[in-house]
Amino acid sequence: MATRTVYRRGVPILEGLRYRGREGMFAWLLHRASGLGILLFLALHIVDIFLMAFGPEIFNELLVLYHAWWGRIMTVFLLFGVLFHALNGFRIIVQDFWPKLWPYERQLIWIEAAIFIPIFLWGAYQFLLPIFEH
């Protein structure tokens, strides 16, 4: 068929982002973004722990990654990612194995947000506190 020849594979990501989705699409986007972010951090973390093989000096020097103010901001992002990914993943698992909850996805996302926000704010405050104390 002639029209098959003009067929384009895949919608550009930015055009997809323009779609006015609801809570579910927002949760999916954050889940992907946080997953990628955590994986990136995990790779970094594996390498920095591996450097322990080369003795204390290099390793202790490297810990500036976590002690410097920008390192602390990075860990706040990490906390955001891990906490969101964990809670959102838990919601998906609960829905998958408890079919009765399928119609209540939006309510579940709001419950998820209600759990996420206070824990994250409290954690972020604790993470950033030492910056101001120095």
Binding site: T3, G10, Y19, W28
Partner: protein, 235 residues
């Protein structure tokens, strides 16, 4: 009310890429978006091209992006979209002209799940296959599909990769998988267990929100996943 329609236009014989054009229309708040499009086509610009047939939400011809979200132009009222309306074709299918997309890839996915009753056995009384009210109820929701493609073209997994069979095809597979008269459930489950099948669904729920027939699509997909996982279709 005076409404401004901002419509994505594309004529393959003239345009290199799509552009937007605005039209002013006088409408009642209880008019539908389709009435606005008809006014533009009939009285302002006859070159505007879109599909519509029954105009009452049954034929499934006029799915489009209305203010960024999929819907049927004949089911969305002006008072719900406001005075500024942006109309674009549904995503993920090639645009043929203006708001018309090539539905063939969508129907190819639909056909791939065997959307027809398979049963070679002779009925018990030789005439009809009796079904209880409960057995009929089991797949009632998914019989409502009108194949408008609003769900499949709202799905980020489908946008990313059109090899994904898509929500609409899964809904129509569900309609036969859970039908007590059908004998090809295993075969359909096997098709949907492939790399391009149900596992591409990330429970985003865009399909359920977009469905003009209010089918619980994500739930139907979830039930198909469970049927594959547990190997049974009776639940």
């Amino acid at each position: 009310m005076k409404a401004t329609f901002r419509i994505q236009r594309f004529d393959p014989t003239k345009d290199k890429k799509p552009y937007y054009r605005e039209y002013q229309v006088e409408l009642d708040p209880t008019d539908r978006v389709l009435d606005g499009l008809n006014q533009i086509k009939w009285y302002q610009d006859g070159s505007l091209t879109f599909r519509r047939s029954c105009a009452h939400g049954v034929c499934g011809s006029d799915a489009m992006r209305i203010n960024g979200a999929n819907g049927l132009a004949c089911k969305v009222l002006m008072r719900d979209v406001g005075e500024k309306v942006t109309i674009e074709p549904i995503l993920g299918l090639p645009v043929i002209k203006d708001l018309i997309v090539d539905m063939e890839p969508f129907f190819a996915q639909y056909r791939s799940v065997m959307p027809y009753l398979v049963n070679d056995e002779v009925p018990p009384d030789g005439r009809e296959r009796i079904q209880s009210i409960e057995e009929r109820e089991r797949f009632d929701d998914t019989t409502k599909c009108i194949l408008c493609a609003a769900c499949t073209t709202a799905c980020p997994s489908f946008w990313a990769n059109d090899q994904f069979v898509g929500p609409a095809a899964i809904v129509n597979a569900h309609r036969f998988i859970f039908d007590s008269r059908d004998r090809a459930a295993r075969e359909r489950l096997d098709i949907l267990n492939s790399k391009t099948g149900v596992w591409r669904c990330r429970t985003i729920y865009n399909c359920t929100v977009a469905c003009p027939r209010e089918i619980q699509i994500t739930k139907a997909i979830g039930e198909v996943k469970q049927a594959i996982l547990y190997g049974e279709t009776t639940s």
